[in-house]
């Protein structure tokens, strides 16, 4: 099989993703401006996170990564999937974390998301988190089955559905973890750490076999022209290890941030309860944990 280099100039001008990204960006800017008008605050970190998320989706779907992943390298394809399922959704949801939505959404949408409305009830249901996790795990596993993966890569419509599933399940999972809904309160839900741990374990089920197996799994890439002189097996190892590494870092950092957030919420909740039971307690100090 000949060794060749795929082109790095092959940017896609597929109108579907472009329109979706532009519309989403426009909606976010409107939300951002409304929140800024109402509160006078600048949500720079929110803006940076959301635009980075959209940027990563653009990189995943429009850059040469897409064509290289389609026709040459499994490792490029797995990188594309990690960006769509793990990294971009995390950034998008971080971009709408509290208090942005509460101040930025139009009243009719806020009403739809309120606990009394149907959508709001679904999102706050005790079943939402396990269902979101289950959907994410099922998506990760199902689209990694060799026959399914190869078929999806060969059929554009199926491929688009695969990408939508990855992105959608990622957004749902990170919604559970980040908890961006307005009016959700500041309860410490320690199950969020459990969901992160479970998603880490589920992701490892996909990336570890790719990293360690001594035979190729995906016939499409075993038979593909060899790019950059990388053998099919090495390509698979790079794909698996890269997937493991990115998820390792993303989930690891998220785990620590969520843990810190939960400790803060827990302490805040305890303080509120104490003040309610003993109104003569002094106001909480600036450093409520009495620690440096």
């Amino acid at each position: 099989m000949s060794s060749a280099a795929p082109g790095w100039g092959e940017w896609s001008i597929d109108p579907g993703p472009i329109i979706a990204i532009v519309l989403t960006g426009a909606a976010y800017i409107a939300c951002y401006r409304r929140a800024h008008r109402r509160t006078g605050r600048r949500y720079a970190a929110h803006l940076l996170a959301f635009t980075s998320g959209l940027g990563l989706i653009a990189v995943a779907l429009l850059s040469p990564l897409d064509s290289i992943g389609d026709r040459w390298l499994l490792s490029a394809h797995t990188l594309q999937h990690v960006l769509l399922a793990d990294v971009a959704p995390a950034l998008l949801v971080l971009g709408v974390r509290p208090p942005l939505l509460a101040h930025g959404l139009p009243p009719e949408l806020l009403r739809a998301l309120s606990p009394r409305a149907r959508i709001g009830r679904v999102l706050r249901s005790q079943w939402f988190a396990p269902v979101a996790l289950g959907f994410w795990v099922a998506t990760q596993w199902a689209w990694s089955i060799p026959v399914v993966f190869d078929t999806a890569a060969a059929h554009p419509l199926l491929h688009t559905i695969e990408h939508l599933c990855l992105l959608g399940s990622g957004v749902l999972l990170w919604t559970v973890v980040v908890d961006p809904l307005p009016g959700q309160g500041r309860r410490a839900v320690w199950g969020r750490l459990g969901y992160l741990g479970a998603s880490r374990a589920a992701a490892a089920v996909v990336c570890l076999p790719l990293t360690w197996l001594d035979h190729t799994l995906y016939s499409r890439y075993a038979d593909a022209p060899r790019a950059y002189g990388i053998s099919a097996l090495t390509d698979q190892h790079i794909g698996g290890a890269g997937m493991c590494l990115i998820e390792f870092l993303v989930f690891g950092v998220a785990f620590i941030i969520v843990f810190l957030d939960l400790l803060g919420r827990e302490e805040q909740g305890t303080r509120v309860t104490e003040r309610a039971s003993q109104p003569d307690l002094p106001k909480p100090a600036r450093n409520p944990l009495n620690v440096s």
């Binding site: 990293t211 360690w212 440096s292």
Partner: protein, 581 residues
């Protein structure tokens, strides 16, 4: 308008009937009291520690000079296996179970563990594991090393029952650890004192809780692996035998998938001890409580995906090595966060130089050095050069002896007064520290040099022309200095049980709830469980009682009503220390 008056809470007796202490040895054998089980754990672990230490000294004596004939090759292999297995499975892991058993219920304001009988079962399973393992010395001890790589440990190369006792040891102590871990998790999750939210949990409890969760995740893997090894050895299965389709590499994966979290299982409670000791003797709050707690759980989360750095010389694709190199280096970040926070805790503190602080500072220095050589070994081209050499031996002893054992020593000197009501001798303690510190550096510092000059680990002798003689002699001398330091602590403990100064409830003016009770605590721990209002509840109680005392002096007719269990807080608030009591 009607006026209301608030009354101070009246102490209540929460225990309606307590089993009278029979006072004989059967009361120890049948006990379900967490404190007694903790002491049983600690005493048993130290017996094994002594045995493992003697095995280490025998090995060092054999290596002191070239071509030594004190011990033959077969016995040397057996000593290596017994020493490693004893120190890991019969000392470092269970010793934390001992401290956790004794201290966690007291620290969280509980009267016992959630499942007291399960707690006793856990201890006796651990003892059974040790007895089964050491019964092999009467026949054929195992000799395949503490990680029992196949094919060395299969039926062909280890045909005797010694290897089977190793397998049963893992089964029994693994079951003990898993049961104990479940008990710890349930206890901490459900039995904390009023007001003790997760953000106020003592850092030792965070370490123990995280360790327990890691045990629950990791133990089934090693239990499965040793069961597979057992069936390979006796029922002709082929999990690890390449002659019939098995893979020796599979054993390495399974063992190290357990083995690397195991490193953190051994050290996380030690981190907790250091986080408790430093603020008490620096006389200031711990710096970065949340950062230390978060780095503890972060280490646990990350540690399950770094195991292959123990296998860098196995046939593994380069890109996979690169992944495990980066992930192994990443895990140094939360560890570094802890070290920085500990140093910041000491910074500008009103430091009281007592023996627990000596060991905690020794830990900081030596563990950081061990961590640095760990980062070096995470770089796979460096690991290729020194893998299987004495450099690796030096590294993991810096982490485990300097890390875990220093923390254990700090814990002993810190909590001995609470457990026995007596203080340990400060002068003997400091002497013991210096012997251990210097002895440790002499023993293991020079082993880096031996490893870099090519001396492989697990060789029972070497030729004079290798040039390793002097370094080995220095290392052996250091080992005996280190052993002297440990013996000084043992002597100190035995002597102080009878002659130690009476400690009083809170001799250190410490921060956590175990010091609220008497020393040693009564069977039910507390008559009254206080309400926790910060991460330093004892400091709050002392302040409150001091304020009440001032009020009482200002209005002599007023009566103070103090909770019966507030012995520690009253004593330290009014007298400020216990040694003179």
């Amino acid at each position: 308008m009607a006026t209301t008056t608030s009354l101070a809470p009246v102490p209540q007796i929460a225990t309606h009937r307590a089993e009278p202490d029979r006072g004989d040895w059967t009361s120890w054998v049948t006990t379900t009291d967490h404190k007694r089980i903790g002491i049983l754990y600690l005493v048993t672990c130290f017996v094994f520690f002594m045995v493992g230490g003697v095995e280490a000294l025998l090995m060092r004596s054999q290596l002191a000079v070239p071509n030594n004939t004190l011990i033959n090759a077969e016995h040397y292999n057996q000593l290596v296996t017994m020493h490693g297995t004893t120190m890991i499975f019969l000392f470092v892991i269970p010793v934390w179970a001992g401290f956790a058993n004794y201290m966690v219920p007291l620290m969280i304001g509980a009267r016992d563990m959630a499942f007291p009988r399960l707690n006793a079962l856990s201890y006796w399973l651990f003892v059974a594991g040790g007895v089964v393992f050491y019964s092999s010395v009467f026949w054929n001890p195992p000799d395949a090393g503490w990680f029992s790589y196949t094919p060395l440990s299969n039926g062909t190369y280890s045909p005797t029952a010694g290897q089977d006792t190793w397998i049963y040891l893992i089964h029994l102590t693994g079951l003990a650890s898993a049961i104990g871990a479940i008990n710890i998790v349930v206890t901490i999750a459900t039995m904390r004192a009023p007001g003790m939210g997760w953000g106020r949990l003592p850092l030792f409890c965070w370490g123990v809780l995280t360790q327990a969760i890691m045990l629950i995740v990791a133990i089934p893997v090693i239990a499965g692996a040793v069961t597979m090894l057992l069936t390979d050895r006796h029922f002709h299965t082929c999990y690890f035998d390449p002659r019939c389709g098995g893979s020796p590499l599979l054993w390495q994966h399974l063992f190290w998938f357990f083995g690397h979290p195991e490193v953190y299982i051994m050290i996380l409670p030690g981190f907790g001890v250091i986080s408790e000791v430093l603020p008490v003797f620096a006389r200031k709050p711990i710096f970065g409580y949340r950062a230390i707690a978060a780095s503890t759980v972060g280490i646990a989360f990350l540690s399950v995906l770094v195991w292959a750095h123990h296998m860098f010389t196995a046939p593994i694709p380069l890109v996979v090595l690169a992944f495990f190199m980066i992930s192994s280096m990443a895990i140094a970040v939360p560890t570094g966060v802890k070290v920085i926070n500990w140093v910041a805790t000491l910074w500008r503190g009103s430091i009281v130089f007592r023996t627990p602080l000596y060991f905690a500072c020794g830990f900081l220095v030596l563990f950081t050095l061990g961590g640095l050589s760990g980062v070096m070994l995470a770089i796979f081209p460096i690991d290729w050069q020194v893998h299987g050499s004495y450099f690796v031996v030096a590294h993991f002893h810096f982490v485990l002896v300097a890390g875990a054992v220093s923390a254990v020593m700090a814990a002993i000197y810190f909590w001995f007064p609470k457990m026995t009501g007596r203080m340990l001798s400060e002068s003997l303690g400091k002497l013991s520290f210096w012997f251990q510190f210097v002895g440790f550096l002499v023993t293991f510092g020079v082993q880096h040099s031996l490893g870099l000059s090519g001396m492989p680990r697990r060789v029972y002798t070497y030729n004079a022309d290798t040039g390793w003689g002097t370094d080995n002699l220095i290392s052996t001398i250091g080992a005996f200095i280190l052993a002297t330091g440990v013996l000084l602590t043992v002597f100190n403990v035995v002597r102080s049980l009878k002659y130690g100064v009476v400690a009083g409830p809170d001799p250190w003016k410490a921060n956590t709830l175990e010091w609220f009770s008497t020393s040693p605590p009564p069977a039910h721990n507390f008559d009254v469980i206080p309400k926790v209002t910060s991460v330093e509840p004892m400091k709050d109680l002392r302040a409150q009682i001091a304020q009440d005392s001032r009020n009482a002096r200002a209005t002599p007719t007023a009566r103070m009503r103090l909770p019966v269990g507030a012995a520690g807080a009253v004593q330290s608030a009014t007298s400020g220390g216990g040694e003179h009591v």
